[in-house]
């Protein structure tokens, strides 16, 4: 029996097996941020133990940081205290930290790949569910709780049950205007918000192969939204090309050796999956959500299905059978670890160039990292956004989870490129409609939801 990609990486990281079947898994890379790490550092201090491998941990500030005036002290006292605590802990324990103002600062799942830290075959964790993003590079990456953050800090290991394996294959050519965000929202709408529970998902098929690394990250990022532990994609030439030359990429001496190893990372033909699904790219359209979990999504041309979850529709102010085409909206948020990379910003810029947002719309673009922000400015995208009435901010998680000042007011509709449309996620009472960057850009220009397949 052959092995899946997941098996190959998992099996190579088993330190030992515990009575009853749980396995002790070695973690190659640990990312931390200000919100889920302070209690873990406190735990180490209480137990009087040090980090096992400070060379395998990287910190950044992203979740609660303001996206305006980052050169000034953070005005909100609790956020400031949390950020200062991270800086203090990193200094005390000797952890590399990319704080506000640093050229490498940004959303943890954007900077890891950007710096070449995330590489094929690795095990990666972070106290954040969207750690699944890094799976796009052919690694096992998943979110953990703070107790586990402390365990990895202390021992570089976790005690885990091996997840089940799922493969989702997508073949065919995507219709015009349809992107990787639409693919993943489509899959979640079919599998539901719990359809992937207990599984690790491998995404495969010729549609996936044609996607850029950034587009692949968007798909793996949202595998958690179907309840999966994570998602991953076999590395290929695109993966290698993306990594080459980045700060933490293998040096020239070991590059060929690394490639030789990375090329062994794929699922064998006779490998066995617990669950398999396949979809046709041609069936996918620009997706929008209508409810309060990411599984409640439809193609923009479809109507809201009858749903037993009337509470969700009531919260959203929508009705069964209603079409979202032409639905007036008030806010547009382009950002988050799902869609805040340079390709996302380029796509938005290309669409809005020479156009202007509708009068009643507030349109916010929050780059995923300082590097993305700098690159956008270098390419002149900032000028295009400004001319179109979009506000380009500084990097952070921002209105994806509304921990900082960037919130959507109660009752207002926000077309958001983020990953969660939970009640109150973008602010108490806020109504989130998840969509691709292109759909969000078009909604900002038109002031309402439109079908982008007719516009590109």
């Amino acid at each position: 029996m052959g092995k899946t990609l997941f098996d190959k990486i998992w099996d190579a990281h088993i330190v030992t097996t515990v009575e009853g079947g749980k396995q002790v898994v070695y973690i190659d890379q640990h990312y931390i941020h200000e919100v889920t790490s302070p209690q873990a550092f406190n735990g180490l201090k209480t137990r009087n133990i040090d980090l096992r491998r400070k060379d395998k941990i990287i910190a950044t500030t992203d979740h609660n940081v303001p996206t305006k005036d980052q050169h000034l002290p953070i005005s909100e006292p609790l956020s400031r205290k949390q950020v200062e605590t991270l800086l203090y802990n990193c200094e005390t324990f000797g952890v590399t930290c990319y704080g506000l103002g640093h050229k490498n600062q940004g959303i943890v799942h954007v900077i890891g790949p950007e710096l070449g830290i995330t590489k094929p075959g690795m095990t990666i964790v972070c106290g954040d569910s969207h750690t699944s993003t890094h799976g796009a590079f052919g690694c096992i990456a998943f979110g953990i709780g703070t107790s586990q953050v402390e365990q990895v800090m202390a021992t570089q290991c976790l005690i885990l049950n091996k997840p089940k394996k799922m493969r989702i294959t997508i073949n065919g050519i995507l219709p015009k205007g349809v992107s990787s965000k639409d693919i993943v929202l489509y899959i979640i709408s079919k599998l539901t918000a719990s359809g992937g529970t207990e599984h690790f998902i491998e995404f495969a098929g010729d549609t996936i192969s044609t996607l850029s690394m950034e587009a692949r990250m968007t798909i793996c990022n949202m595998s958690i939204e179907m309840g999966a532990r994570g998602g991953l994609i076999a590395p290929d030439q695109k993966t290698f090309d993306y990594i080459k030359g980045r700060k933490h990429a293998p040096d020239e001496e070991t590059w060929e050796e690394a490639i030789q190893f990375w090329e062994t990372l794929y699922s064998d033909d006779d490998a066995d999956f617990d669950t398999e699904y396949s979809f046709n790219a041609e069936d996918i359209g620009p997706m929008v959500t209508y409810g309060t979990n990411p599984g409640m999504g439809i193609r923009i041309m479809d109507k809201i299905p009858s749903d037993k979850n009337s509470k969700a529709l009531e919260y959203m102010g929508l009705r069964t059978g209603e079409s979202l085409l032409g639905k007036e909206i008030q806010y547009v948020f382009i950002g988050s670890c799902t869609n805040s990379r340079i390709e996302d910003l380029r796509q938005v810029a290309q669409f809005v160039k020479g156009k202007h947002k509708a009068k009643h719309i507030t349109a916010l673009i929050v780059p995923g990292s300082k590097a993305v922000e700098e690159q956008a400015k270098k390419e002149g995208l900032d000028k295009i956004f400004a001319a179109a009435g979009f506000e380009l901010r500084e990097p952070g998680c921002s209105a994806c989870l509304g921990m900082n000042e960037d919130k959507v007011p109660a009752g207002q509709y926000c077309v958001s490129t983020s990953n969660r449309n939970f009640e109150g996620r973008q602010g108490p009472g806020a109504r989130t409609i998840l969509a691709s960057p292109l759909t969000a850009a078009a909604a900002a220009v038109e002031g309402k939801l439109v079908d982008v397949t007719n516009m590109v």
């Binding site: 609660n64 205290k81 106290g127």
Partner: protein, 196 residues
């Protein structure tokens, strides 16, 4: 971690499905740097309206429902990995959550904080909801050692729990104690590993 052995308590019913951790503890309350005090903001936006007035129709605001057991619809704890959700439930006084389905990360976080997640079938879950509806003061019994949830003398549900985590809960041990004992094995793994 406090050991958890037996629970004899009434239960609070929350039949909504797909309850995500943003509902359990909204992100704006995650700014603390310790684990204490999250209970006051548990289900904050379901307990209080925008003027901070109590929403009388929410179950936690109804004095007839109380106890150490929360019974919730399927896929409880989905979404964010925030362990603050488990801390908030514990701080509020819950020691057990019963559902037909738990999101993976939440389940692990609960177990790591002395909260027992019990998975039952949809039918059993309905039975439990009906029992609470009939008699909100009804007490359930949970015997972790024998893995039995007793609805009453006649109706007993055998639940599963990972042997390792059961031992941890019964004794109040953390995973970290065990992992620290593996130091030599971890070192030898590190010495043999080639990474790029």
């Amino acid at each position: 971690m406090e050991p958890l052995i037996n629970i004899h308590s009434s239960a609070v019913p929350l039949p909504a499905e797909d309850i995500d951790t943003d509902q359990i503890i909204p992100a704006r309350f995650l700014k603390a740097i310790t684990k204490e005090g999250f209970g006051k903001n548990l289900f904050r936006d379901w307990r209080y309206d925008k003027n901070n007035d109590i929403k009388g129709d929410f179950v936690l605001n109804n004095p007839i429902y109380k106890g150490q057991i929360l019974v919730a619809g399927k896929n409880f704890g989905c979404g964010s990995s925030r362990e603050h959700a488990a801390w908030a439930l514990y701080d509020y006084g819950f020691r057990v959550v019963i559902s037909s389905y738990f999101a993976d990360i939440f389940k692990g976080n609960a177990l790591n904080n002395g909260i027992l997640p019990i998975t039952v079938s949809e039918e059993e879950l309905h039975l439990i909801f009906r029992r609470i509806e009939t008699d909100p003061a009804h007490h359930f019994d949970i015997d972790l050692k024998n893995q039995i949830l007793s609805i009453d003398e006649k109706t007993k549900i055998l639940f599963t729990i990972d042997a390792f985590k059961k031992e941890c809960l019964l004794k109040g041990y953390d995973d970290i104690d065990f992992l620290l004992s593996l130091d030599k094995k971890i070192t030898s793994f590190e010495e043999s590993q080639i990474i790029y």
